[in-house]
Amino acid sequence: MSTVLDLHSHSEASEDSRAPLEAYLNWLKLRRSERPVDGIVLTEHRQFNKNADYRALEDRFGILVLKASEVETDYGHMLVFGVTDEMTRRFDFADVHLPAQLFIDEIARMGGIVVPCHPGRPHVGLFEHYANRPPLENVVAVEVYNGGSRKGEDERSLELARRFGYRQIGGSDSHLVSLIGLCATRFEAEVRSIEDLVNELKRGAYEPVDFRPRRKPVQPAVAVEVK
């Protein structure tokens, strides 16, 4: 049984989002036919909400809700899955200059996994840092579909992933209710907990999936000579 999870989303706990979790889940329920997502992972900016309990909402909507974090490192933004007390004691998640290599290695040693997100994005993505600095070691996967990507960013991310042999995930990076679930990751196995998710990201079979609607570009106006 496969599982489709949106691995990157921000609720109103992030300073730049106004999306309540309940509204996200309601939206996914309404849009189930076009965004068949089984669950979402809240990756709030520079924090981990250890005590948040979403079980009542999970039961009400039948959608899995897991917790992770998005941190800022000297190689760009990264998602952290499987966050523990040991990790938040070891690192200040609010630090916007976390040392990426040490962070990746230490989080792995403590049982979690770090996945660089939107690596093709200027300034905050891995790709730009690789242009000037040596590549990081022990990167397992990167996010290649990001719902907030501008033109060319996902393509750069895919190129990076292929060149370095990274595995690939997708996430909406939603900050608005109606954007949740636009990109996601399909796991071959069933994922029902954060432990399952970390195990699958490290060793399982998965692929990014893209539910964004395609719009034909508006054609430029053509001047017509009137006789």
Binding site: R18, A23, W27, R31, R150, L176, S178, L179, R215
Partner: protein, 142 residues
């Protein structure tokens, strides 16, 4: 075209605002800049904007905010509702002399205070979201 008289009871999560397609000309942007006292090169002149590191003249953020506010008030029509909050995030410059698309969705309703929350945004021709935001409208008592 007669304006709608939207009622709170008819509003549902998932209702769409727009899409409204609009060709935003440089002259319109200059007119806005002139009217609002924002006559600076980035909003009025390609060459001056490029000197500031921009790709060309751009649309003032307040004008984007106004266009999105109008999307909401057009949707409300002549009903007794009012726009009580609007907020935006500017992701990419809105370049004039291009077609933009204004769009939104109702994302939440609250029966107790008769409000509706909505996502709103401006896209370019390639479906990139240039400005995103949220708004809240409140309807009068029935």
């Amino acid at each position: 075209m007669p304006q709608s008289q939207r009622k709170y009871e008819d509003v549902k999560v998932g209702d769409a605002l727009g899409p409204q397609e609009l060709f935003l000309s440089k002259e319109q942007v200059r007119a806005y800049a002139r009217t609002t006292g924002m006559w600076v090169p980035r909003f009025t002149d390609d060459e001056g904007a490029r000197k500031e590191g921009l790709p060309g003249m751009i649309t003032p953020g307040n004008m984007s905010l106004a266009l999105l506010s109008k999307l909401v008030t057009d949707w409300l029509g002549s009903s007794d509702a009012r726009l009580v909050r609007v907020g935006t995030t500017y992701r990419q410059p809105v370049l004039p002399d291009h077609t933009i698309i204004l769009q939104g969705f109702v994302t939440h309703t609250n029966d107790a205070d008769r409000t509706a929350d909505m996502d709103i945004w401006i896209e370019n021709e390639e479906a990139e979201r240039l400005v995103i935001g949220t708004a809240t409208v409140q309807f009068g008592k029935s």
